[in-house]
Symmetry: C2
Subunit: 251 residues, 2 copies
Amino acid sequence: MTVIGENLAFHLGLIGELSVEDRAAIVALDGEVRELPRHKDIIRHGDRGTHAVIVLSGLLQRYTIGPEGKRQIHSFYLPTDSPCLETLYIDYMDNSLGAVIDSRVGLIPNEQLYRLIGEREGVRKLIWRETLVQAAVFREWLMRNSNLPAHAKLAHFFCEMFVRAKVAGLVIEDGFDLPITQETLADAVGLTAVHVNRTLMLLRDAGAMEWRTGRLTVKDWAKLSETGDFDPHYLHLRATSGAGLGEGARG
Amino acid sequence: MTVIGENLAFHLGLIGELSVEDRAAIVALDGEVRELPRHKDIIRHGDRGTHAVIVLSGLLQRYTIGPEGKRQIHSFYLPTDSPCLETLYIDYMDNSLGAVIDSRVGLIPNEQLYRLIGEREGVRKLIWRETLVQAAVFREWLMRNSNLPAHAKLAHFFCEMFVRAKVAGLVIEDGFDLPITQETLADAVGLTAVHVNRTLMLLRDAGAMEWRTGRLTVKDWAKLSETGDFDPHYLHLRATSGAGLGEGARG
DNA sequence: GCCGCGTCTTAACCCAGGTGATTGGCAGCT
DNA sequence: AGCTGCCAATCACCTGGGTTAAGACGCGGC
């Protein structure tokens, strides 16, 4: 029983059922715990991924740097999230993964996962499913960044992060830590920092949400989710019903 | 030995090695062949996917309809492409799959694939890898639609389709069938049909490409790929080296 | 040979969001 | 206290792409 395995089991349990034996096998997984200072990458574009990553604390981001230095953030990873599971069967990293703030991550060698995947159908199913859910999130981000106006982009983004934080057990009194700068947010939703700033004030004034000192608080879920045209189905959570999700206590 | 299995084996062979036995097992897969008239969906948002789809001829598109009827296309599928492999472990479809033009598809029941995945590590690896490559494509589309200006979006899109058509053996004399309307293209890259039209003429006038009567011809690969800042690595093909890809003869 | 419809093309106008530059607050360091 | 760096907040101005509308060019059906 390890912190890393426990967190992975918890996370996989959010998107499907785990038998007692499968759960035990995952919980028994171990690996290296590493401190990752802010702005430091753990895997870079072009690297060969050899480990799965489990976020234990802090916040990670997946991103690429495009022409003229433009950065596109593909996803953020909250504690218990597991980026890099795709390195199991994709050798060449086409993006980078780094820490937004000082973070702690667990690293599980792929070999350990190959073994479990081969032996246990239940584990295979959930890990595979996890990679597919991430693909669904990329599709949703594609839709959001291509089709929605600025205020809806921000609202949609906040809704997603809120739901994910909620099921991960990170939400306290309708708020959770989202320690990103407006510029980082801009790189995620495909706007400029200036326009993000302008647009944030609209959402604040509308009373939908508050976001200060790195903490997001949802004031009016109905308004926020309607503004962002948000439907959480694409997250494929076991309990998907908007903000009124189950308790979701940590491992 | 069936058309469906043969096409799937060919397609998986593009992204990885298949042992003789694994290949034989895939080639032996069979399923229903179905004619899909243009604009008809084969799977709809909200459905439960129960089959993998193999495109035998024609062209499919994956899409969602957003607020105010806006359509976002997430991907196109050329002959030998295999959408819906994600339905193996995702029960609820969060998008639709339909025919752009009259098409023929093969349907393989998921049960058959579960069996093979459980029995054969090599097959499991390649099918999983295929779903991960599609996720990488979604990430690239996210970057493209969020960060690139209109002319680069179009160039990037054409580059991707060209490379994919090339490895599928569909390219003859630097051209292949891309029977979509400008409006459909607009819904893929996140522009309006009018602006797509304006921008297409720039690319044409620059001599980079030609696109008439549903057939795309690349005139100047260097110019086109530079305009679109295109790097084919994200497709994770076995032979990835721009337009000068291997022969790629069908089945 | 004509009609109807889908698609492409073009034009005139408009606005959401980009650009660049400045200010002020706040935290950490010396 | 003063300095440095980061980040939020604004302002004035600009432009890429959206919007609306109106022809033009096929092409299949009758």
